[in-house]
Every structure is written in C-alpha cells, then in structure tokens.
Amino acid sequence: MNFNATLFGQLLAFVFFVWFTMQYVWPYILEALEEREKEISDGLEAASRGKRELDEAHLQKAEILEAAKKEAADLVNQANARANQLVEDAKSSAHEEAERIKVSAQSDLDQAAKRTKEELRSEVAALAVAGAEKILGSEIDKDKNSQIIDQIAQEL
C-alpha cells in the first residue's frame, strides 16, 4: 500500500471513461429509453382516446337509430293518414256523382212524366170531343168550342 503515480494514471483512465460514456453511450441509450417511454404513453393515450371515441360512437349510433325509427313511424303514420284521406275523398266524390246522376235522372223522369201527361191530356181531350160529337150527333165546331175543350183538358 503506497501512493504513487498510479493514482494519476487511474484518474486519467477514469476521466477518459466518463468522457467516453458521456459522449458516445449515455445519450444514445437514454434516447432509446425515452423514445420508448413516449411511445408507450402515446399508445396508452391513443387507446383511451379510442375507447372514448368508441363509447361516443355507440351513443351516437343509438341516437341515430332512435331518430330513424321515429322518422319511419312518422312516415308510416303520414302514409296511413293520406291513404285514409284518399279513400275518404273518393267516397265523397262518388257520393256526389251518384247524387248528381240521381238528380238528373229524376228530372228526366219528371219531364217524361209531364210530357206523357200532356200527351195523355190532349188525347183525352180529343177523345172527349169525339165522344161528345157522337153523343150530340153533330159536329162541334172545334174552333167555336175550343175554349170549353181546353177547359176540360185542363180539368183532367
């Protein structure tokens, strides 16, 4: 055990090794380490972000589904209402048409009956005149007695 120049040899070696480690070893290994730590923390963060987004998407999906269902139901309802409306409209227009046809048929009928009545009346008048001629044995001057005949015809 004796101190000698070895002390300074060792000191020089020590300085050299520390310098070398500082220059060529430590930064590289630390860089890899820190990079990996960053990658891992980034990955974890991305995973939690993805999970959050997935949850949100699930919620959104439920909402959209709900809205779509509601819209579909509305559409069906609207369609039903419209169909009913159409049926109702058709019914009422058919009804009106029928009414109209009935009315015009009635008026035709009335006119025909009226005409027939007129015809019958004039025929009856003629018959009555003929009957009266036969009874009286002479001719009745139609022009003279036309007033009476018309009166009779009216009374028929």
Binding site: M1, N2, F3, N4, A5, T6, L7, F8, G9, Q10, L11, A13, F14, V15, F16, F17, V18, F20, T21, M22, Y24, V25, W26, P27, Y28, I29, L30, E31, A32, L33, E35, R36, E39
Partner: protein, 305 residues
C-alpha cells in the same frame, strides 16, 4: 513442509505485492526488485518498490482497470449504437435496466439543475467499479499463475512473477477515482457558489462568522474526510475481502501431501465458496455505494446554503 510458516508469509506477501514499474533513485526506469530479483524475468531491477517513491506505476492495477474499462466502453458503445426503441435485444434490455437504475438514482439524489455529466458519471462509476470488484471472485492464484507462465507464483521460469488481479485492492485505484470526484466537487462548488460562497460555507458555518476559526476546525476535516472516505471505503472493503481469500487459500497448501492436507483443503473449498457468495454482495454494494455517494457529494456541491 519444513518451512511452512515462512511459506505462508511469503505467499501472503506475494499476493500483496503489485507488479511495479518505476524510477529508481539512480534515475533508471525498471520493474521493481523483490527479494533480490526483478519482478519480471529477464529484466534488470535496480531497486525495490519503496525506493521508487512517487514515480512508480502499478502495472497490474493499471492494466486490469484499463482492460476492464475498455471492455466496458466497447460493450456499452455497441449497445448504444444499435439501441432501438421498438426492438431492443436482450442485452440492450439488460443495459437499459442498468441505465434506468442509474438514472433513477441520479434523479433521486441529484435535485439540482440538470447536469448532463451526472448520468454518465454515475453509470461509469457503477459499471467500472463493479467490474473491478468482480475480479475479486476470480480464484486468487489463477491470474498470477497464468502470468507466471503456468508456474507456481514464486517459481522461476515464468515471465511475470507478480500480478495482482484486483485493482481496487491497490489503494491507488479507488483513491484515483475519489480524486476525480474531489476535483469535481471543488469545481462545482466554486462554479455554483463562487469562491467566496464556497469558502464561506467552510468558515461561517455552523456558528456564524465571528466563530470562523472554530467553524474551520469543524468543517474542513469533515469536508475532506468524506471525500477521502469515499475511496478508502472501497479500498478497505475489497482489500479485506481479498485478504480473507488469501487466508482461505492457505488451506489448500498441503492438498496433495497428506490426509490432513486433503481435509483442510475440503474445508478451505467450503469456506472459499461461502466467502465468495457473501462477497457477491460486497462487490455490488460497494460499487453502488461509490456511485450514490458521488451523487450525494456532488449534489451538496450544487446546493446553496
């Protein structure tokens, strides 16, 4: 085994002697002379270790620590160059575990402004000291045996007769590192507090400026003792650990010569195993402690009081 006592002493002394290259009083540079012969075969040694004084290098200490340090930085550099954040290899994972451990220590102990030196410094200290400490677990005779050309440590014939494989059991290695930390502590103290602030911290605490002489007596020894203890702690622990290994190794001395020798050898094996297992703890703990204490002291150098 007539001279067994002497052999044991020689054996221990042999294991405590560094391979030393230095300048002798006559001005020549050579390996040291131990027991009348040079530590390295075929060289002329003109003086022993203590005669060299300051200008001597423990070649084995420097060789082992630089070798381990080089292995460390080449290994680390390879990992760092191929470091990928998405597909780490197994080895990269292991190194990253280590870097994370060191980084957490830095963040826990070092609350001052982010200093980019602290991480690399702590990592280097931890890994390098750990590797150097780990040399204690190599069977203590293996490397000297190889260095001596596969001959018994004291025998003639090999090339290098002395080689200590554990650099931290040589006080120069841990103290060299502690010296580096001491320089850093002074540098950052003065940088962050100013020379005046740094000196004020040592003189005006804890009793205010009118008691400055007493404060100095309290503060200066405490300030330097902790930095000195940083190196001495590592040295002491590992030196003691190696000493125990050397003593246990004495059990194997008579393994091939007698029945009691075999029994002692078996007991030695068991002891060696137990001590090695226990020593794994010391190896890691001391490396960790050196790192943490360095961070704590440097943190104090950044703090304002």
């Amino acid at each position: 085994m007539a001279s067994k006592e002497l052999n044991s002493t020689d054996y221990i002394e042999h294991h405590l002697t560094n391979l030393t290259y230095g300048r002798c009083p006559d001005g020549t540079w050579s390996f040291a002379e131990v027991h009348g012969k040079s530590q390295v075969a075929g060289t002329e040694a003109s003086c022993n270790i203590s005669e060299m004084g300051f200008w001597a290098f423990q070649v084995d200490t420097l060789f082992m620590s630089v070798l381990l340090g080089m292995g460390m930085i080449f290994f680390m550099r390879r990992i760092a160059k191929n470091a990928s954040s998405s597909k780490p290899s197994r080895v990269q994972n292991a190194v990253e575990y280590l870097v994370t451990l060191v980084r957490d220590q830095v963040q826990d102990n070092f609350t001052a402004d982010k200093n980019p030196l602290m991480g690399p410094l702590a990592l280097t200290i931890f890994v390098w000291v750990f590797l150097m400490n780990l040399m204690d677990l190599i069977p203590i005779d293996l490397v000297p045996w190889i260095a001596n050309g596969f001959a018994a440590p004291n025998a003639e014939g090999g090339a290098i007769h002395y080689f200590k494989v554990l650099p931290v059991a040589d006080i120069n290695a841990p103290m060299g590192m502690a010296l580096g930390v001491l320089i850093l502590i002074h540098y950052y103290s003065i940088k962050n507090k100013g020379l005046g602030g740094f000196l004020a911290e040592l003189t005006f605490q804890p009793y205010g400026k009118w008691m400055a002489p007493i404060n100095v007596i309290f503060e200066i020894p405490g300030f330097y003792a902790k930095q000195l203890a940083l190196g001495l702690r590592l040295y002491g622990n590992l030196f003691a650990g190696e000493m125990i290994f050397i003593l246990i190794a004495l059990f194997f001395g008579g393994f091939f010569s007698s029945v009691t020798g075999v029994l002692a050898g078996v007991a030695g094996l068991a002891l060696n195993f137990i001590w090695a297992v226990f020593h794994i703890l010391v190896v890691i703990l001391q490396a960790f402690l050196f790192m943490v204490l360095t961070l704590v002291y440097l943190q104090q150098a950044h703090e304002h009081h």
